[in-house]
Symmetry: C2
DNA sequence: CCCTTTAGTTATCATTTGATAACAAAAACA
DNA sequence: TGTTTTTGTTATCAAATGATAACTAAAGGG
């Protein structure tokens, strides 16, 4: 039943992460973007270049809906699509300059709030945190 | 600039947690509940008894919308509201028996998937993971 | 060369979610 | 006691998201 205890911790922890990150990213999203669009853009930012299918898979949304939302994003000028010369069905989606700027600004704000949150932490603690992040990402959240 | 590196790790980590938990809880939600309703129920399950205002705060949604969704949940028979005798404006929201059953089933499924994920881990690693979860929850995601 | 599969698009409709105004009742307070 | 604040409700509307069908074009495979 030790397994169950670990699971309890996992659930509580995941809930905490969701809550804190929601809190931190709250009203960061540009007025021009819907929440979904912001999330998609965030995904593009981290994984670019990506294909439509990859966005669809990762965001767990249907191709038609993905197509629609990404189309809106490129109409808003925050991302660019270039047809893959090797397979002209595919397109590489990347952030445009405007998109990069927008996401930089967002991350900037998030960074500020993150730093407030860990303000007054010692160097040793920081080291511990880094190691814990690495460990969990490697063994649980991979 | 060490701060910035830690922040990078934090962002990557949060993204990973979101993705994995989304994956794990995917299609766990009962057919009878919308995603929002499932999240609210999950929150009630963890924090019961809660008031409408607390749900509203925590889920970052307006009181009217919170009222509507919680009303739907109680109409579906998964939660119960009892007026606080000390302050009859407030109501304590808890899971009903059916709600408990539903959430138990959901957690059961999530637990199974979690265990698959950490299958083949040594006792020492398990210990490390537990400590890492505790540390982060205490120092970052509090 | 035909057939199938993969990648993506467009259109349309239903449902969910968000926002706002107008309200009621209990509690707090002056 | 009368007024204000807190807690919640109801109704209504707009916008976002989800689901599905019908389609195009390129690639792959026999």
């Amino acid at each position: 039943m030790d397994n169950n205890q670990l699971f309890q911790k996992f659930v509580a922890f995941s809930a905490a992460v969701h809550q804190i990150t929601n809190d931190i990213t709250k009203d960061v999203k540009s007025e021009a973007l819907t929440p979904l669009q912001y999330k998609i853009l965030e995904y593009i930012a981290v994984s670019q270049p990506v294909t439509l299918s990859e966005v669809s898979d990762c965001m767990q949304m249907s191709m038609p809906n993905t197509s629609r939302e990404v189309k809106k994003l490129s109409e808003k000028g925050v991302c660019t699509r270039i047809t893959d010369p090797d397979d002209r069905r595919k397109q590489g989606i990347t952030l445009s300059a405007a998109g990069e700027a927008l996401m930089n600004e967002a991350f900037q704000q998030i960074a500020v709030r993150f730093e407030q949150r860990i303000a007054g932490i010692t160097a040793a603690e920081r080291k511990e945190i880094e190691q814990a992040l690495d460990l969990l990402q490697q063994k649980v959240f991979y």
